[in-house]
C-alpha cells in the first residue's frame, strides 16, 4: 500500500540501512553523501514550514543556513585557536561542544528570523520574495567584504565539534548525529503542522480576512512560523559546516536559497517528508549525472522545468497519483 506515510518511513529506513551497509563495506564517501542529504533536507524542512504550509515564499533562507554555519564556525575556530571571542561581560573563548554550538546557532538564527520576519511580513506576494532575498544578499555581501573571518575565501575549522565524547570525525558517528536531528525535526514539524497553531498557519494561506474574523492574528502566526523555520534551517547550517569543516560565503548565496526551494518542489510541496525525498533525489542526481558530465546542471534545469510544468506535486504526489490508477 503506497501512502504518504509509507513512502516516508521507507525512505527513512532505507537511508539508515544504506548508511549501515556503507559502513560495513567501508564506503566513507557514501556516508558523507547521506549526511549531506539529511542536512539539506533539514534545511528544506525548515523552509517548508513557511513555504509549504504558510505559502510564504522566502527566497532568502540561505541567510539562516549561512548564519547557523558562521556561528558554529566562528565558535569552533576560536576554541581551536584559544582566541578570545568576547571579553565583556565575561571572557568567552568560543566552544567546541556541539550542544553549546547548536544552542548559539538556534539563538542567533531565531533572532535574525524575528528581525527579517517583522519587516518582510508587512509585505506580501512578490515583494515578500524580494525582501527576503534582499536580507540574504545583505548578509552575503557582508560576509564577503568582512575580512576577519576569511572574507570571500571562507575559513576551515579543522575538527568537528564534540558531543558526549563521541568520535565525530568518524563518518558514521556524525551521520547518526545528523539522522537523530532529522528525526527530532520531523517529529517537531509534524506535531506543529497538525496542532491548532499549524491549522491556523495553513489557514493564513487561503483567506486572511477569515483568519482575522475568528480572532487569530495572522501576522503573529506567520512570524512565529518564520522564527521556527529560521531556527531549523540554522541548525542545518551548523551541521553542514561541521560536516565539511569549512565555512564560506557560498552558504549564504541566493543559489542556496533557490536549491532549498527546489528540494521542496521535487519532493512535493507542503508534505512533511517532501524535502527529504527532494534532497535525496537532488544529491543522487548530482552524483549520477556529475560523473558523466560536468555540465549536469543543464539536465537539472530541464528536470525542474518539466516537474513544474507537467508533474505538479513532486515525487510523492506522482507516486500517490500512480497508486490511484
Amino acid at each position: 500500500m503506497i501512502s504518504e506515510k509509507n513512502i516516508s518511513y521507507i525512505s527513512l529506513i532505507s537511508i539508515f540501512l544504506i548508511a549501515i551497509f556503507s559502513e560495513y563495506f567501508n564506503e566513507p564517501y557514501l556516508i558523507t553523501l547521506l549526511s549531506r542529504i539529511i542536512i539539506f533536507s533539514i534545511a528544506a524542512i525548515g523552509l517548508n514550514l513557511v513555504l509549504g504550509f504558510g505559502n510564504l515564499i522566502s527566497f532568502g533562507h540561505a541567510a539562516f543556513f549561512g548564519l547557523g554555519g558562521y556561528v558554529s564556525g566562528i565558535l569552533a575556530i576560536h576554541a581551536f585557536n584559544s582566541e578570545l571571542l568576547i571579553s565583556w561581560p565575561f571572557l568567552f573563548n568560543g566552544s567546541n561542544n556541539s550542544l553549546i554550538i547548536w544552542l548559539f546557532s538556534i539563538f542567533f538564527c531565531s533572532l535574525l528570523a524575528l528581525l527579517v520576519g517583522v519587516f518582510s511580513l508587512r509585505t506580501s506576494g512578490v515583494y515578500f520574495i524580494m525582501i527576503t532575498l534582499a536580507f540574504a544578499q545583505m548578509l552575503y555581501y557582508f560576509a564577503i567584504s568582512w575580512p576577519s573571518y576569511g572574507g570571500e575565501d571562507g575559513f576551515s575549522i579543522y575538527v568537528r565539534s564534540t558531543l558526549f565524547g563521541i568520535n565525530t570525525m568518524k563518518g558514521i558517528n556524525f551521520f547518526f548525529i545528523c539522522f537523530f536531528w532529522l528525526l527530532i525535526i520531523l517529529f517537531i514539524t509534524s506535531k506543529i503542522v497538525n496542532s491548532p497553531f499549524g491549522l491556523a498557519l495553513r489557514a493564513t494561506r487561503f483567506n486572511l480576512t477569515r483568519v482575522r474574523s475568528v480572532g487569530i492574528n495572522p501576522f503573529r502566526i506567520q512570524l512565529i512560523a518564520f522564527v521556527l523555520s529560521g531556527a531549523i534551517t540554522g541548525i542545518a547550517g551548523s551541521l553542514y559546516v561541521d560536516l565539511n569543516r569549512f565555512v564560506s560565503p557560498s552558504l549564504l548565496s541566493w543559489q542556496m536559497s533557490g536549491e532549498f526551494i527546489v528540494f521542496i518542489l521535487i519532493g512535493g510541496l507542503g508534505r512533511i517528508y517532501g524535502p527529504l525525498i527532494g534532497a535525496a533525489f537532488f544529491v543522487a542526481f548530482e552524483q549520477f549525472f556529475g560523473s558523466y558530465t560536468e555540465h549536469w546542471q543543464i539536465f537539472l534545469g530541464i528536470i525542474i522545468i518539466s516537474t513544474v510544468l507537467f508533474a505538479k506535486g513532486g515525487i510523492i504526489g506522482f507516486m500517490l497519483k500512480y497508486q490511484k490508477k
Partner: protein, 307 residues
C-alpha cells in the same frame, strides 16, 4: 579627496544607474503586464554579452557585436517565451521562480559548455577610446559617457513608447486588466511575446555594454539581476518611471557609498579598518535602502497600493 574624483564617481554612478535601467525596464514591464517574475532576465543579459564577444572575435567590429547582442538576446527571449514562459502566466509566483531559476541553471551551463569557463573580453572601439574633457579640467572616459548617452536615448524611447504610441496604450491597459483588453480584440499572446522580446533585447544590450568595461563570463548576469529586482521593488513593480528613478538612485548610492563610506570612516578610525568596515557597509547599502523604502512604502515609490 578632490572634487574631480567626486565628480568622476558621480558620473560612474550615473553610468551604472543607466545600465541598471536597461535591465530593470524590461523586468518591470514583464512583471507589470504579464505578472511574471523572470529570474532568467540575467541569463539574457549574459547571452547578449556572449553573442557580442563571439561576434567581436569573428568580425572584430564593436558596432556589429552591439547589434548581435540585442538581436540574439531578443531571439532567445522570444523562443523561450513561446516554448516555456508562456505556460507560466497563469501559475503562481512559486512556479515562476522555480522555472526561471531552472532556466538560469540551463543557460549558464550551456554557455559554459560552448564558450568554456574563461572570461572573454571586448575592446572599446577607436572612436570611443580615451577620455574627454567634460567640465573645465575634468576628464571622463568617452566610452562611459557613450553608455550614459545610450541609456538616455533608450529611456526617452521607452517613455515615448509607453506614453504616446498605440502599443504603449495596450501595455498600460494590460497592466490594469488583462481580460478586458483581450476582449477588446488585442492579440494578448502576441503582445506578451513582443514585450518579452523588447525586455530581452534591452537586457542583451546592457550585457554587451557592461561586458566591454568588465569581462564577459558565466554568472555575470545574476548580481545585476538581483540589483534590477531591488530596483523594481524600490520603484514599484510595473512602473517605468519608478524603475528609472530607482535605477539612478541605486546606481549612485551603490557607487558613491562604496567610495564615500570608507573615506568618512577614516576620520574616526585607522585607514585599514575604515577600508574593510567601509566596504562591508558600502556593499550592503542598497539593500538597507530597499528595506527602509519597503518599510515606509510597502509597494515601492510608484507602485500601486495593495488592495
Amino acid at each position: 579627496m578632490t572634487a574631480e574624483l567626486l565628480i568622476e564617481q558621480f558620473l560612474n554612478g550615473l553610468q551604472f544607474g543607466f545600465m541598471l535601467f536597461l535591465m530593470s525596464a524590461g523586468l518591470t514591464l514583464i512583471f507589470g503586464v504579464m505578472g511574471l517574475i523572470n529570474l532568467a532576465h540575467g541569463s539574457l543579459y549574459m547571452i547578449g554579452a556572449f553573442s557580442a564577444a563571439a561576434t567581436f572575435a569573428f568580425f572584430n567590429s564593436f558596432w556589429l557585436s552591439l547589434l548581435a547582442s540585442f538581436s540574439c538576446a531578443a531571439i532567445v527571449g522570444i523562443v523561450v517565451e513561446k516554448t516555456i514562459i508562456r505556460k507560466l502566466y497563469n501559475r503562481d509566483h512559486l512556479d515562476q521562480v522555480l522555472v526561471t531559476f531552472a532556466l538560469i541553471l540551463f543557460f549558464s551551463e550551456l554557455v559554459r559548455w560552448i564558450f568554456g569557463a574563461f572570461p572573454l573580453y571586448l575592446d572599446v572601439p577607436e572612436l570611443l577610446n580615451g577620455s574627454i574633457e567634460v567640465f573645465s579640467g575634468i576628464y571622463y572616459s568617452k566610452y562611459r559617457l557613450f553608455i550614459i548617452f545610450v541609456g538616455l536615448i533608450i529611456a526617452v524611447f521607452l517613455f515615448f513608447l509607453i506614453g504616446k504610441t498605440n502599443l504603449g496604450i495596450q501595455i498600460r491597459a494590460g497592466q490594469h486588466d488583462r481580460e478586458m483588453i483581450s476582449a477588446l480584440g488585442v492579440d494578448i499572446s502576441k503582445l506578451y511575446t513582443l514585450l518579452f522580446g523588447i525586455g530581452a533585447a534591452l537586457a542583451g544590450l546592457a550585457g554587451a555594454l557592461i561586458g566591454t568595461i568588465q569581462s564577459v563570463e558565466v554568472g555575470m548576469g545574476e548580481p545585476i539581476l538581483i540589483l534590477a529586482f531591488v530596483i523594481i521593488v524600490i520603484g514599484g513593480i510595473g512602473s517605468i518611471k519608478g524603475a528609472f528613478i530607482a535605477s539612478l538612485l541605486v546606481g549612485l548610492v551603490d557607487t558613491l557609498g562604496r567610495f564615500l563610506i570608507p573615506w568618512v570612516l577614516q576620520t574616526v578610525t585607522n585607514p585599514s579598518d575604515a577600508m574593510s568596515v567601509g566596504s562591508a557597509i558600502g556593499s550592503m547599502l542598497i539593500y538597507i535602502l530597499m528595506a527602509i523604502i519597503l518599510i515606509l512604502k510597502p509597494t515601492g515609490l510608484y507602485g500601486k497600493q495593495l488592495s
